[in-house]
Symmetry: C2
Subunit: 394 residues, 2 copies
């Protein structure tokens, strides 16, 4: 089995990273930049001015497009493509978190693709053949989109949340100043922590042989993230905690932690959650923790040793003679951890209560109306997915 790593993103990590935007854009040869962002806080707190001042200094012109919301919408992507095309933008600079970056990636795909519909890349109807270049100033440690090949967009027409993966969309640079995450609210800090953990675990629960080095690196990252997630909650301006989370977000999703493994990973929890946030617009990280233990209890019998090793590696759980029992303890330890950072461990705690009919619809959508199964650690069909949603209700 051959595994691949391609991480061309130039990363700058530390205080003042965002002050290198002008220099990086110059090196990339950018002449007109579409600056994409979400909330107007970016402008109000002065970050945008610090960025545009650099562009002015470099003689690089720009246009602004804000308004990205969590679960970024296809309609804004289409608008961005149209504006960027009209203005002849040649570079997209995302200033924000994962939603902004994912939206920027979709715009970058659309710009490169002269004729067709960008949504085709998300339904799998067509594969991207290129992308305009993207850079990132990160303001939220969570999705890892700043180094990843992944972009997830929600089509409001049918509440469909779909992802597109290709190396073309990996950002040229990612500027990571942990101080820019000081103002991230506690709930979003916890969601981010959960998301980082899940990106690591979706790769850990692949099918097949695992590379010991990759497992050990994954345990090290998860251990660090669990500890620093709690620290950042206690003290939002804990620079070291924010720095650990920020860098972990990038490493958890750039494919480093799939090297030597079956790189397809599991991703069932992500797909199960995508349907939830498509239908109910919940926060991605919270949707994941609300689902995870129900997924884990459904599948762990397949290879309890894998769960047991995870609990020992991350939480230092003592091993017993029974991998089954150790696996159960591992699942409980993750539930306890999620609770400790105020993340939901059921759909009820997530604040939603889907009916049987809605669960049937969620499972139907998750399988693409019977067109696919989910997962790799264990293959899940519609009935299994329904069972997991149902168990997660509590």
């Amino acid at each position: 089995m051959l595994t691949s790593l391609y991480t061309p993103t130039h990363v700058l990590l530390g205080q003042g990273a965002e002050t290198k935007a002008g220099e990086e854009l110059r090196k990339e040869g950018a002449r007109k930049v579409l600056i994409h962002y979400g909330s107007d806080r970016i402008i109000a707190d002065g970050l945008m001015k610090r960025v545009t001042d650099q562009l002015d200094e470099e003689g690089i012109s720009y246009i602004l497009l804000g308004g990205v919301k969590p679960n970024p919408r296809l309609s804004l992507v289409r608008e961005g493509i149209e504006i960027a095309r009209k203005e002849n933008a040649d570079f997209i600079l995302a200033v924000g978190g994962g939603s902004v970056i994912d939206s920027a990636k979709a715009i970058a795909y659309g710009l490169y693709d002269k004729d067709g519909d960008v949504w085709d890349f998300y339904t799998g109807k067509r594969k991207p053949e290129g992308s305009y270049p993207i850079g990132v100033i990160l303001t939220l440690a969570a999705t890892g989109s700043e180094m990843s090949d992944s972009s997830v967009i929600t089509n409001e027409d049918g509440n469909l949340k779909r992802g597109c993966n290709s190396d073309y969309c990996r950002p040229r640079f990612a500027l990571l100043n942990p101080e820019l995450t000081y103002t991230v609210p506690p709930y979003q800090t916890s969601c981010g922590t959960a998301d980082i953990m899940m990106h690591t675990m979706e790769r850990y629960f692949h099918s097949g042989e695992s590379l010991e080095l990759t497992d050990n690196l994954a345990f090290a990252l998860l251990k660090t993230v669990t500890e620093n997630g709690q620290k950042a909650l206690s003290n939002p301006k804990d620079y070291e905690a924010r720095k650990n989370l920020m860098w972990a977000s990038s490493l958890s999703h750039n494919n480093l932690l799939a090297m030597g493994n079956d790189q397809r990973g599991d991703w069932a929890c992500h797909q199960i959650e995508h349907e939830l946030s498509g239908m109910f617009d919940v926060a991605h990280g919270a949707g994941l923790t609300a689902i995870w233990a129900s997924w884990a209890r459904y599948v762990y019998h397949k290879d309890p040793e894998r769960f047991a090793a995870l609990g020992a590696g991350v939480f230092g759980l003592r091993r017993t003679a029974s991998p089954e029992r150790d696996a159960e303890e591992t699942i409980k330890a993750f539930e306890n951890y999620f609770s400790s950072i105020h993340m939901p461990i059921s759909l009820k705690e997530l604040g939603i209560n889907p009916t049987d009919k809605e669960i049937d619809e969620l499972a139907e959508k998750a399988t693409f109306w019977g067109g696919r199964t989910l997962g790799a650690f264990m293959i899940l069909g519609k009935d299994a997915i329904k069972a997991i949603y149902t168990a997660a209700r509590k």
Copy 2:
């Protein structure tokens, strides 16, 4: 403090990785490739034919240049530049270990630099402004040159071993098939294991604050490498052990394990060893283990906690109330480990016995005749360096 990571190398890891050489070269637009290698074993065992067959199939022409030896020589680099220029080569493919890759990097610098002397980049007289593109088929897990920005060349005129670092020389691709290291002899396997460990530790012993995530990743890598080094020695065809070592070699030297730290690292042991192998032509990895404990005992008082945490993280040593004592136990544990893989822990075991006069000359050269100090964890002048060489004699 701002730290940077730039790892553009496309890595393929696993059985058959070398069969992707033609495809990677085509993607890079190569038309005439200088294939650089060391021993004729590459030809005798059929690897070269498997490579050139792919180039023939892709319609890419090539010329061969073998003869690279450990501590690669400037004379061969000059020869390579001349041949490649005459033949209009536009890509350098290194097939071998660190020496071959470093020699290829020097040729690639020289080709880009139309007029001057390539040695200038190694003495620091000039900085490279570009490089021809390089690709790697790796046959030895050790130096990490397959992803690194580093190249070390020995000038026979004066036995000077000097390094040049720049992002320009980072390989475009690195093809990592662990099976190609099955025939690496035990001594070289151990030297490689030591080199990987030392690349990690030179970065760990920087000066200043450390990022917890980076420390934990470093411990995870070192733990995995120590265990798999022993396994590869016991069974040279242990695929998983070879795979762990091979991927660890790349990760230990691509700067991942310096993120968030002062990226200059320590590197005193490397510089102290460079002079040794310049004068006595010893194997790099063995030179490092022969020196390390003497360096460690000279410097650990500066921050015993840092050593103590390393021993706990890598070898699971129990902490006591005394960081000093734990640091001493850590140093002993590394000595014991090096001995377990038959690496020397003194110059005597390395098979050399430098006179006082030679030690003075080594220290003189290491400081560039008084022009620089070594180290960062502790700054070392000529007297300190002499003391370390002397303590290492045993």
